[in-house]
Symmetry: none
Subunit: 258 residues, 2 copies
DNA sequence: GCCTGCAGCTTGTGT
DNA sequence: ACACAAGGTGCAGGC
């Protein structure tokens, strides 16, 4: 994420035309290409913004700088350090950022004319923060945390959101033999979910204190391709019934209830 | 504006319960008391937030710090400088920020548990200039009010925002035969817009003094399904060109200009 | 202050 | 890709 505090004028053209007169603002550029222009007041909403996918054009000292992409700067700059070229380095100061986006027949365009850069820093935040769960997935996790035996016979919960450096494992459990089990929870279990669980297991198995770790994919619905892939990688999978977890229905009945 | 980059876990409780697992995030605190928690993906929307008015509670080194208000820090810290207490100063590191807000009978609460502060700076941005924008439904309505013939041949405006007990009709006009016409204006005409116009017409036709009332949906863009539904209900629809309304382009040209 | 309707809504979910 | 529905909607304008 790149954070630029600058005196700037911003023009948006697309669905409508908008002009922000010159003032001090925060320009936030996320690594997914999002751009937000925030004032120090005005609450929740940015004064201007652009959602991905975006294309950037930069100018330094009034001259175009091809190839410099603010959204990718995080990978090329020391973490938390000022970006070279904020006016006190050997490069010309940043004078313009144009953010463009294809929007059907027309084009959305955010034109940021920068008068003065007060700060320009980049932070590499990793990917862990990106994983946020939908309402159903979250409820599933809560219910399964309270009844981990639905993920596997005799499972006991050790911790929800077990942290790893590539993101949190939904549930970390122990099986009846005290073996570790990583449980990945999804509303719909796809191949992508199996891949995710695979990455977690790789990571966890590198920890010598953990030794063998089993993997279980738990979801309301698991696609046939995901079942096959999980089995071929030695993982278990289980389809869970939300109504049963909520105690609204008897587990046995579901066998004949579909 | 205070910008804190920190490894943190965030809990929200209010309308719902939400947990953001421990990860690196940006905490943005505006001087109006707004708080936003951003990951470096996920576009426009913060992962968590609180709109003003808010009350803050801070902890440093696990101990409460009464009286320190992040939203007001901008007035008490040198511009662009790190806030004292980020771990390398003489104060204990920031370990927790609780943002509270009265919300009716219950309370909204954002609980940010901070594991590590990577950066903590304050910028005084002064007063931000207001946004100037045009092109929204408002402008469409103004332009069409000034040139109602774009809604239908020979239309004369009777009044904008014609009041009914289920809401105002955007434009009420008379056609060349002095028949009433209700015009609903949207930027994008969807089925929902047709439904809305339908409700207005139902209401207006109950008025014996009005008699027959035609309906016209006018929008910059009208979805195919909306066109079909409008036609099947005997309403007219018209796509209007903002450039033409503004007089920037010749109406006739648009017939061949698409 | 409450309420209503718009928003460059944004975002998810199903078709 | 597109239509639909919900949002911790946020936000402004009218009463």
């Amino acid at each position: 994420m790149r954070l630029i505090v600058a005196r700037c004028e911003v023009r948006y053209s697309g669905r409508l035309e908008a002009l922000l007169p010159e003032a001090l603002r925060l320009l936030m550029v996320k690594s997914d290409g999002s751009v937000m222009v925030h004032a120090d007041t005005g609450g929740f909403k940015p004064q201007n913004w652009m959602t991905p996918p975006t294309v950037f054009e930069l100018e330094r000292g009034g001259e175009p700088v091809p190839g410099e992409d603010p959204a990718l700067a995080a990978g090329r700059t020391a973490d938390g350090q000022p970006v070279d070229g904020d006016g006190d380095g050997d490069r010309a100061p940043l004078t313009r950022i144009v953010v463009r986006k294809r929007a059907g027949s027309t084009e959305d365009r955010l034109d940021i004319r920068i008068v003065e850069v007060l700060s320009d820093v980049v932070h590499d935040m990793g990917e862990a923060a990106a994983l946020e769960k939908s309402g159903v997935e979250r409820e599933l996790q809560e219910l399964l945390a309270g009844a981990p035996e639905h993920c596997g016979e005799g499972f006991r919960l050790v911790r929800r959101e077990w942290p790893t450096d590539i993101g949190p494992v939904d549930l970390m459990c122990r099986d009846p033999d005290d073996g570790w089990v990583a449980v990945e929870i999804k509303r719909v279990g796809t191949i992508e979910a199996v891949e995710q669980l695979t990455r977690y297991l790789e990571r966890l198995r590198e920890d010598p204190g953990m030794g063998e770790v089993r993997g279980v994919l738990a979801a309301q619905q698991i696609k046939p391709q995901a079942r096959t892939l999980a089995e071929s990688r030695g993982m278990d999978w289980v389809e869970v019934d939300l109504a049963v977890l909520r105690g609204e229905r008897e587990p046995a009945l579901t066998l004949f209830d579909v």
